[in-house]
């Protein structure tokens, strides 16, 4: 192996992967060009806009700021994984009703941020949702619609849960 290339093993969307790359390569570039996962987008390259958010060991991180050498033995979940894996089926139900996205560029980053929140808090309030989205910039200003949709989804799940328990 050339001196400036490292070999990495990590888990990507619940599958083990091996990759050889320069240690400073951004996770964003690895995802988009080595694995063709285009859902993780490049917005600002400075970790400010959240368009490149992924889950790394359960925490939402900006992929544009993560160098390759930090990936060793980590678990990475991208928007593609969140939208397809069975383990996230329940969380996806909160996304299904969100029609608030206008152009959709920020949607994958926002959904990763929401997934990180919903993993630990299944019924967040508006303030908690906004805090979770505080690292996401939306050029269309769609925040209120997204917050409202997640709240409504939580409210529906609560009502459904109550009805089920009443029936049983």
């Amino acid at each position: 192996m050339p001196g400036n290339v490292i070999k990495l093993r990590f888990t990507l969307n619940e599958k083990p992967v091996v990759l050889q790359c320069h240690p400073g390569t951004r996770l964003l570039d690895i995802l988009r060009y080595d694995f063709d996962l285009k859902g993780t987008r490049e917005g600002c390259s400075q970790g400010e806009c959240g368009a490149c958010l992924v889950l790394m060991n359960g925490l939402a991180v900006n992929a544009c700021l993560i160098p390759a050498f930090a990936l060793a033995d980590s678990e990475i979940l991208t928007i593609e994984g969140i939208l397809s894996l069975k383990s996230f089926a329940d969380i996806r139900k909160s996304f299904a009703d969100i029609q608030a996205y206008r152009c959709g560029f920020c949607s994958s980053g926002m959904q990763v941020a929401l997934a990180a929140l919903l993993l630990t808090n299944r019924e967040p309030n508006a303030e908690q949702i906004r805090q979770a989205l505080s690292g996401n910039l939306c050029a269309c200003g769609s925040y209120n619609g997204v917050v409202e949709a997640v709240l409504q989804s939580s409210s529906r799940k609560r009502r459904y849960g109550r009805k089920r328990s009443q029936r049983s």
Partner: protein
């Protein structure tokens, strides 16, 4: 999930890079390109086969500078090759010699600069009225350059196969791009295909800038004979793409003994940048809306484009109109104080002209939105309360914090401006066309050049067609925008889609309904409209007789609070009342208006874009331009729906109404006349120190 320009591109494509001028102004005396490795190519200005100047909507830029450099970062050479790191090394190895000149740096945009375009509008006898005035009120208002901050940066993918060119572009105007590329590469239109990919909320920034990137990618592809991907990262886009122009506006109002306005004189100075537009829609919009929604018997407006040494300017949402209305509304807030009237009363009285003309109809929609905004925001009570608090304190130091204020504005989005071919007309494109095809299985496809840009245009068309054709919306789709397949409906903005595209669609649907009864699928219908027809029917030459019935109206109320430590103004609430005809679908319109309101709040309070103004060899990129999720104020948008009248364009309305209402609120909160936007903590600190 949409595929934006950064998501596409063949795997075998080369990467492109732009070598830019490291100096701000001067002449290139020598340009030494290093020996290129195999598989790498370069393009200089002398290699451009056709026209080296790109034009769009009145703005122009050279694709590559020949010898004269006018701004820092002006493109000089293009390179392409397989490895981006090697490309960066090639750029670093370019040998450049130049004679640098000192740029002219006047702080005051009013001169003495060279003047470009001049527009004069006048009615009545302004000089006489001023000579008879009891009092003259003067004010000077400044609006800064703005950055579009579209989420997807500029980029293009070009593929020259030896005979034909295919372009995948992030653009609002695919046919305009095709024309520009044909002129640049000296190709016939049939040899150039443009596929417009979905774009983010562009703020009208994907016009000339998108043509420039596409032309550069096309040149590289034609030289290398391979596909080329040219993408800007955020830093490059922030630093080098054209911004909205800076404006300086001087207002003078002559008042009679009763405090009524008898004459208004307005001077507008627009920063035309180093490549000033020859025929600028932004300046025209500014001139025609310089006295806002109000009537005055004597009016004189002069607008000038100043040729400066600042970086190039480009289109921006509501550009020109927003700045003029900002100045007019803020100036009127001074007149309100002199007349000792609250803003609602003053606007109502002056909207219908002089007292003897009050029974006339003009502007009744303006009154309706004004009254509703006053009611839902509780404006009158809050305004009185905050005014009383302001009167009781002598200085801000003695204030009982927090400092609060409330402001109101009234604005219209002119139907004339929205019908024109987006800020100016290319004489070769005078017709807008839309096509509808009914396929077997009762499926309908809509063919238009309007791009999916986060404005709900495609969804609007689908819903309207579904209603008129009595079909399920799932059976209707919009054809991907490909210049080989769709007709030219003109460049994309929501206003154009609503005022030009929607009527064409409705005509197509009605025609299709008739033909369905006698013909079998597939059935194709087309409808076109000439822009000359639209302009003649839409233009009001005598502005004094314009009753505003065709305009969309907005009354905006903004309430602010000043942080006593940081002096940052915090928006507590925004109320918008909009009249824009029969709006459908309502939910989409409310979403769009709320989103644009948030962008307008950001423009009012966050950092301005700073170019190389005074100490600049290096531009300063700013990303503090868009409020985040935790900074969203309470926003209430009400739609007044008229039962008659077609839908009007409305996406500009928040950008017209929010900044002056915001500034008026800060004025009341601080007791200072804040006469510029954005209103940052630094601006308020400057007011305190004066």
């Amino acid at each position: 999930m949409h595929n934006f320009i950064h998501d596409i591109g063949p795997k075998r494509a080369l990467r492109g890079i732009v070598y830019r001028s490291p100096f701000r102004k001067g002449k290139v005396t020598g340009l030494g390109v290093p020996a290129l490795p195999k598989g790498y190519s370069c393009v200089q200005a002398r290699d451009i086969p056709g026209s080296s100047i790109l034009s769009c909507a009145g703005y122009s830029l050279p694709v590559l500078a020949k010898s004269e450099v006018r701004y820092l970062g002006e493109p000089l050479i293009l390179f392409c090759g397989p490895d981006p790191e090697v490309l960066a090394e090639i750029c670093a190895a370019v040998e450049l010699s130049f004679e640098e000149e000192s740029p002219v740096e006047y702080k005051d945009l009013s001169g003495p600069y060279r003047e470009g375009q001049i527009i004069n509008v006048a009615h009545g006898d302004v000089d006489l009225a001023f000579s008879l005035a009891d009092q003259i009120v003067e004010g000077e208002y400044r609006t800064a350059r703005q950055e579009h901050f579209y989420p997807d940066t500029q980029g293009a993918v070009a593929d020259w196969d030896g005979k034909n060119l295919s372009l995948y572009a992030a653009t609002q105007d695919p046919f305009g791009m095709r024309s520009a590329i044909c002129r640049c590469l000296d190709l016939a239109p049939r040899k150039v295909r443009v596929v417009a990919v979905p774009i983010g909320n562009s703020m009208e920034g994907k016009l000339l800038s998108s043509f420039l990137v596409a032309a550069q990618a096309s040149l590289l592809s034609s030289i290398a004979a391979k596909p080329v991907v040219l993408l800007f990262n955020r830093e490059e886009d922030l630093l080098f793409s054209p911004k909205s122009p800076e404006f300086l506006i001087r207002q003078q109002t002559a008042l009679d003994r009763e405090g009524g306005a008898i004459a208004v004189r307005v001077q507008i100075f627009m920063d035309g940048g180093c490549y000033p537009p020859k025929d600028c829609e932004a300046l025209r919009q500014a001139v025609h809306s310089a006295w806002g929604a109000y009537r005055v018997p004597n009016l004189e407006i002069t607008g000038r484009t100043q040729v400066t040494d600042f970086p190039p300017i480009g289109s921006f949402r509501a550009s020109g109109r927003a700045q003029a209305i900002f100045a007019a509304e803020l100036h009127s807030s001074r007149l309100e104080e002199i007349a000792q009237l609250d803003p609602y009363t003053w606007k109502k009285e002056n909207l219908v002209g002089r007292k003897e003309e009050r029974n006339k109809r003009p502007g009744h929609m303006a009154l309706a939105v004004l009254e509703e905004a006053t009611r839902i925001s509780d404006f009158t009570r809050k305004y009185s309360a905050y005014s009383a608090v302001k009167k009781r304190r002598r200085t801000i130091d003695q204030a009982a914090y927090p400092l609060r204020g409330i402001g109101m504005s009234l604005a219209s989005q002119d139907a004339e401006g929205t019908r024109e071919c987006l800020h100016g007309i290319d004489e070769t494109r005078n017709t807008c066309t839309l096509k509808l095809v009914l396929e077997r299985g009762k499926r309908v496809r809509i063919f238009t050049s309007f791009v999916d840009c986060g404005m709900g245009i495609h969804a609007l068309f689908i819903q309207r067609a579904a209603k008129l054709l009595d079909l399920d919306p799932s059976k209707i789709s919009v054809q991907p925008v490909d210049t080989r397949v769709v007709p030219d409906t003109g460049p994309t903005t929501l206003a154009r889609a609503v005022t030009v595209g929607l009527p064409l669609l409705e005509q197509c649907c009605r025609n299709l309904q008739k033909r369905r009864k006698t013909a079998a699928a597939p059935i194709e219908v087309r409808r076109s409209v000439s822009l000359d027809t639209l302009l003649v029917s839409g233009r009001r030459k005598d502005k004094s007789k314009d009753d505003g019935a065709e305009s969309a109206w907005v009354a905006t109320v903004v309430e602010v609070e000043l942080d006593p430590v940081s002096l940052q103004s915090i928006c507590r609430g925004v109320w918008l009342v909009v009249e824009a005809g029969t709006i459908a679908p309502r939910k989409t319109a409310l979403q769009i208006l709320e989103g644009e309101t948030l962008r307008a709040v950001g423009s009012s309070q966050l950092q301005e874009y700073r170019g190389t103004i005074s100490d600049g060899r290096k531009l300063c990129a700013n990303t503090d331009l868009i409020p985040g999720a935790e900074q969203v104020p309470e926003i209430q948008v009400h739609l007044l729906e008229t039962q008659e009248g077609p839908m009007k364009g409305y996406e500009q309305l928040p950008h017209l109404g929010v900044p002056p209402a915001y500034a008026a609120a800060v004025c009341q909160a601080t007791g200072f006349y804040v006469d510029q936007v954005p209103i940052t903590a630094e601006v308020i600190q400057q007011c305190l120190e004066m």
